[in-house]
């Protein structure tokens, strides 16, 4: 059985984001990179299934992105994926979901993947579209935002989260695509031998044109910070001084600290 996992590399969200010259997206200087959190759940679930099936399954990790994403593909290999495919696209960070999906579809079509796992969204662009677009264009069934997964001979049972902490249980059949939500599993830490092995692994490299890159459906610009609360106060300094300042503010601005002690 062939399983495909689609992954993206994203910056660490605690980094400082400065708009690039065109103001269309962030400047990459000084950012640290890692696997998109939601995609790590996808990799883990695919590898767990492979391990359960014992030898009959092969997991391919696919990443569209510039040269830097090789690091993240190696991470996927070190977590247990068998093959890695890099669609080497320097412009990937600013492509719209339609374009990214067109390349994944171009690669996956005709390769007989019974299951495709993706993250439910990326942390940087958060469109939550690529997985579904790929499924629709491949003509396979799709469930989004799954928090539990079970496989029995081509029958798939998932839990899908809805609002207010509720979930629903759905059943579908392979071939299928599943987009993974937080809480599905805890992604493993790769072992040192697996890390070493992944460093030597050979990656398949493809060009965007060879997998059928299509024109965009949307443009994106005016990248800017989220406005702060204009009335908000920011304090820093040493912990003890800060504590005294905060206490005073809580006393004057809130009613939760009754006089003469805590209520």
């Amino acid at each position: 059985m062939n399983i495909l996992v689609c992954i993206k590399q994203v910056p660490d969200m605690e980094g400082r984001f400065e708009p690039n010259e065109a103001g269309s997206w962030f400047d990459e200087v000084g950012l640290a990179w890692r696997m998109n959190e939601y995609d790590a759940f996808a990799v883990e679930e695919a590898v767990r299934l492979k391990e359960r099936l014992g030898g009959e399954a092969r997991v391919t990790a696919l990443c569209v992105g510039p040269a830097r994403v090789v690091e993240t593909l190696r991470k996927a290999l070190s977590m247990g994926c068998d093959d890695a495919v890099h669609i080497d696209d320097p412009e990937a960070p600013e492509r719209d979901p339609w374009q990214i999906a067109s390349m994944i579809v171009g690669f996956a079509a005709g390769r007989g993947f019974e299951l495709v796992f993706t993250g439910m969204q990326s942390e940087d662009r958060s469109s939550a579209q690529v997985g579904l677009l790929v499924a629709e264009r491949l003509g396979v069934t799709c469930a989004t935002g799954i928090t539990a997964f079970e496989w029995r001979d081509g029958a798939i049972t998932v839990e899908r989260e809805i609002e207010g902490g509720r979930s629903c249980t759905l059943r579908l059949k392979a071939p299928a695509l599943l987009t993974c939500q937080q809480g599905l599993n805890s992604p493993r830490y790769p072992t040192l031998p697996n890390i070493m092995k992944s460093k030597r692994a050979k990656l398949t490299v493809l060009t965007p044109e060879s997998v059928g890159l299509e024109p965009p459906k949307a443009s994106s610009g005016n990248f800017r910070p989220h406005e702060r609360n204009a009335a908000g106060v920011i304090l820093d300094g040493d912990a003890v001084t800060l504590a005294a300042q905060v206490l005073e503010i809580l006393e004057t601005r809130t009613a939760v600290l009754g006089k003469g002690g805590v209520r």
């Binding site: 969200m13 605690e14 984001f17 269309s24 997206w25 962030f26 979901p97 339609w98 940087d124 662009r125 958060s126 469109s127 579904l132 677009l133 629709e136 264009r137 069934t141 989004t144 935002g145 049972t157 899908r160 609002e163 207010g164 902490g165 509720r166 979930s167 629903c168 759905l170 059943r171 579908l172 059949k173 937080q182 809480g183 805890s186 965009p216 459906k217 949307a218 443009s219 994106s220 610009g221 005016n222 990248f223 910070p225 989220h226 702060r228 609360n229 908000g232 106060v233 920011i234 304090l235 820093d236 912990a239 003890v240 800060l242 504590a243 905060v246 206490l247 809580l250 939760v256 600290l257």
Partner: protein
């Protein structure tokens, strides 16, 4: 501009957020129609054409059936855009429509910007403006971003139906574990991933107890098992509105903010002064919580 709104029904009732779709349409001064899988006995107050399918036959969770319904309504109505909520229903349905229409989709719209749509980026830290390049577009709007417009009038109902066969079989719903009701708490001190580990949650507990409040959590803290699921605050957890909300090592993703933005005073402790929690914080303390929380707890205890 002509918009087709996709109404949302949960547990046989039109969701309150459906009125936000009307609010969004009003901001664009658009002509509106609506499509809904619902019941003829509980029609939305709405003046315009309503394409109504029977929920019982369609099923609440058969996205492929709902896709066919909305595509039918698009065909008849020829709108410039179809608008859904960015909810578990909407984000699941929208790309299915965009794929069928070969059109642009803009996800999680939070505002309007000179003919474009503002969306969040980098887990809420940044924003950008997206513009469709196709004549028709699919839009999902972030719940809470657009004020609900009062809905009035009676719709001009047009019955539609779609073949009910679905590749997705619905087996049932799982209700959340309850037991801890944070909705009435006056003070909530919440732990985020920034606390760094299960043992560090003690610092949060100690502050909550010094303030006489409850302990809350962001989702990753609950997923990691550092605190019970029933303490999760946010769109997939509880909605809270305490007089004081203390966010410890919580970045402030939109799904977390959705559950706590009704709070009176928001104190955030974060090492990152640009964390998006700053968009709702009345007071942001830029500090390592491992040092600051014990200091604040001690100061409170010494009063």
């Amino acid at each position: 501009m002509k918009l087709l709104l996709v109404g949302e029904v949960r547990d046989d009732r039109l969701t309150a957020e459906t009125a936000e779709l009307s609010g969004f349409a009003a901001r664009l001064d658009a002509e509106v129609s609506m499509v809904l899988a619902g019941s003829a006995d509980a029609l939305p107050s709405f003046a315009g054409r309503l394409y109504l399918a029977d929920l019982e036959t369609c099923g609440e969770f058969s996205s492929d059936v709902h896709k066919r319904l909305v595509l039918d309504a698009i065909e008849r109505e020829q709108p410039d855009a179809v608008v859904l909520l960015h909810s578990s229903y909407g984000w699941d349905l929208a790309p299915r429509l965009a794929a069928a229409m070969q059109s642009a989709q803009v996800s999680g719209v939070v505002g309007l910007d000179d003919g474009g749509y503002v969306v969040e980026s980098c887990n809420g830290k940044m924003r950008r403006t997206v513009r469709p390049l196709t004549d028709f577009a699919v839009l999902t709007i972030q719940p809470g971003a657009f004020a609900a417009a009062p809905m009035a009038g009676s719709p001009d109902v047009i019955a539609i139906e779609a073949a009910p066969d679905s590749a997705i079989e619905f087996l049932g719903c799982i209700e959340p574990e309850r037991g801890i009701d944070l909705s009435r708490a006056g003070v909530i001190v919440s732990a985020g991933r920034g606390v760094g580990g299960a043992d560090q949650v003690e610092l949060v507990r100690a502050l909550a107890s010094a303030l006489g409040g409850e302990v809350g959590a962001s989702r990753p803290v609950v997923d990691a098992g550092w605190l019970e699921r029933a303490r999760q605050v946010g769109s997939s957890g509880q909605s809270v509105s305490p007089s004081l909300y203390v966010a410890c090592g919580i970045s402030g993703a939109i799904q977390h903010l959705a559950g706590m933005k009704g709070s009176g005073f928001v104190l955030a402790i974060n090492t990152d002064r640009d964390a998006p929690i700053a968009s709702v914080a009345d007071l942001l303390v830029v500090a390592d919580l491992a040092e600051f929380l014990p200091a604040l707890t001690a100061a409170l205890e010494q009063r």
